[in-house]
């Protein structure tokens, strides 16, 4: 069925198809050409979702469609990159406008044994056989912005951690946008071998304080048996920008995955986890802390597939919304018929600081097994007057009380970050972002 499109949506579609064709012309690899061709076909069917599509009802794309984001353009020099670095030691990797920047990154040949890291562009060059990089395309192409990504991407990251390797330093990936109207289309593929362990931190920032840029990410993370992966993402683009991230996580038996997403910036941001628990005794935790101010739309969503027995999943998603901001949470826990003894829990809690802020939340359970323990819940409200009075009654000023309660509310999901310096760093970023609110 051909989708009916508004003239603006049609123009945007034509623009991105044209970009895709330019890219396709440069590609020599027939496999890659096929991947892109397939993506393009799906994208034409999908583009662009409107408010009539249930999954896009509250994340309106009109702002995105009104501007055309191009991958062409010349990156601005990055002078002050240190300002974006944390104070704890990391392995640093920098992408500028969607392209790997060797000069700003740590020396790749110095990585610990068992760790292979290359830019996605290099991985495409090096491999004639690309099947492994695109093994899950059928799943990926279910999402319109992942289809758009698949037809446009040129660079990104490939990270492989060999079996039994424990990386003591976190890998810190810094994504910088330097120009307005630029489209950073990133493809990330992380595979972590049996019993290996890694912490991955990703930070998305705009160097300019205004002017819309767009980041479109597809990340695939594969965990081998007993592998342990912790992921921390901070999205801090300027408030004109757009952010779309589709993460596909595939867990093997007895692996442990933790992800924390902090949403601070962007006009419209949409972060999605598609998590597949493809073995027994898998554990995972997916948390997010989202701040929406002004006219921001902040969308955080998860789809967790309990496919095998004895899986354990936990989620906590919190939103603080002010002004006319819109928050969207959508979470699905799907328990397959054979996933007996599943233990799944999903919580969404929201604090509305103004009368005009709006929260749309949809926690969902779909259970086909009969011996499971699953729960989901959502609550939205204002700051409890009794809490404020309790602090006041101990001598704390009302303004400080409001700030203390709001901050404590928002930071709770970040408690999942295991290493104290990283946790503190994440919490500082979120606390700083809260200072932008109109709390007295």
């Amino acid at each position: 069925m051909v989708k009916k499109r508004s003239p603006i949506a049609q123009q945007a579609l034509d623009f991105y198809l044209q970009q895709a064709q330019q890219i396709a012309q440069t590609s020599q690899n027939p496999f890659l050409s096929k991947v892109r061709q397939q993506a393009q076909e799906r994208f034409v069917e999908q583009a662009f979702p409107t408010a009539k599509d249930e999954d896009w009802k509250y994340s309106k794309l009109s702002g995105f469609l009104a501007q055309h984001f191009s991958q062409q353009g010349i990156s601005q020099p990055v002078a002050n990159w240190q300002a974006w670095m944390p104070s704890f030691p990391v392995i640093k990797l920098v992408w500028v406008d969607g392209h790997f920047c060797e000069t700003l990154s740590d020396e790749l040949s110095q990585l610990p044994a068992g760790v292979l890291l290359e830019s996605f562009a290099d991985a495409l060059q090096a491999n004639t056989e690309l099947g492994g990089l695109f093994a899950n395309q059928d799943t990926v192409l279910a999402e319109p912005f992942a289809s758009l990504n698949s037809m446009l991407f040129q660079d990104g990251m490939v990270l492989e951690v060999a079996a039994n390797v424990t990386l003591s330093l976190p890998i810190f990936v810094l994504h910088l946008q330097t120009q307005p109207l630029h489209h950073s289309v990133l493809r990330q593929r992380v595979s972590v071998g049996e019993n290996a362990e890694v912490t991955l931190i990703e930070r998305y920032v705009s160097l300019q304080s205004q002017g819309a840029g767009c980041v479109n990410v597809v990340t695939e993370i594969e965990l081998g048996k007993h592998a342990r992966v912790q992921q921390i993402l901070l999205q801090e683009q300027n408030r004109d920008s757009f952010y779309f991230n589709n993460q596909f996580i595939y867990q093997a038996e007895a692996s442990q995955f933790t992800t924390f997403y902090g949403a601070i910036g962007s006009q419209l941001s949409r972060h999605q986890n598609h998590l597949f628990m493809d073995g027994e005794q898998i554990e995972n935790q997916q948390n997010s802390a989202c701040i929406g101010l002004g006219a921001q739309t902040v969308d955080s969503r998860t789809c967790t597939h309990h496919n095998q027995a004895k899986g354990f999943s936990r989620q906590l998603h919190k939103f603080v919304l002010e002004d006319q901001a819109i928050g969207v949470f959508d979470g699905m826990i799907r328990v397959d018929q054979q996933a007996q003894k599943t233990d799944g829990q999903m919580d969404n809690k929201n604090l509305l600081l103004s009368d005009f802020a709006k929260m749309n939340t949809k926690p969902k359970l779909e259970i086909y097994a009969d011996d499971v323990k699953c729960s989901h819940g959502s609550a939205s409200g204002q700051i409890d007057k009794n809490q404020i009075f309790y602090l006041q009654a101990r001598g704390i000023h009302k303004a400080d009380a409001l700030r203390m309660i709001t901050q404590a509310f928002l930071l709770e999901p970040a408690e999942v970050v295991r290493q104290e310096p990283i946790r503190r760093w994440v919490m500082e970023r979120l606390a700083l972002a809260l200072q932008q609110t109109h709390l007295p």
């Binding site: 006041q392 001598g395 704390i396 509310f409």
Partner: protein, 252 residues
Amino acid sequence: MLLNIENLQAQIDEKVILKGLNLQVNAGEVHAIMGPNGAGKSTLASVLAGREDYEVSAGAVDFDGEDLLALDPEERARKGLFLAFQYPVEIPGVSNKLFMQTAVNAVRQERGLPALDMFDFDEFAKERIALLEMRADLLERSVNVGFSGGEKKRNDIFQMALLEPKLCIMDETDSGLDIDALRLVANGVNALRSPQRSFIVVTHYQRLLDYIKPDHVHVLYDGRIIKSGGFELALELEKNGYDEIIQQYQNA
């Protein structure tokens, strides 16, 4: 005189609850306010602490030379008024340590004392925890989250020990406590009694007063104090109930 309440009248929404209440408390005294349900006991505690829901329509309250009713709740706390809550509030994510360090330093600022840093505060807090025989991990926990009823009340007493107030108002502290928890809370309060510190103990039952011996007992009914006496008044109430005193008052 530490506290002088004159003709206090207060209402919530349109409902008048305090109808001209008078009470004088000197430094070091313990006053018990007793009364049947709905007499206005908790309203009195809330109005003195400055809860916004109540509107004071008449009367005056002098606290240590200041017009109490003109002060914000936090200013009252800084000047040495402490309310132990009937239902202490849970505040997820705020640790007792952060909460009480902020509060203690707010009070110290008022008294012209330098702020306590993390280490000095820790030492001070640990000493009080030991005095009240409380759990050592109290400081690290979120305020009242996951606490039993007794633990919540004791946490309030712990806060009282840290803030060193001049006047402590205990709002039905005994409600919902079993006898062991009641004894622990009372022991905490007794440890904090001093010639400079006064207490107003609001309670429905006499049993709390077996542990915290008041100097004065007042019966509150229909928004007024209708009878005052010594500890023997509490014993009389325990024996005969409120009815007789209320009858006498209504016939007078």
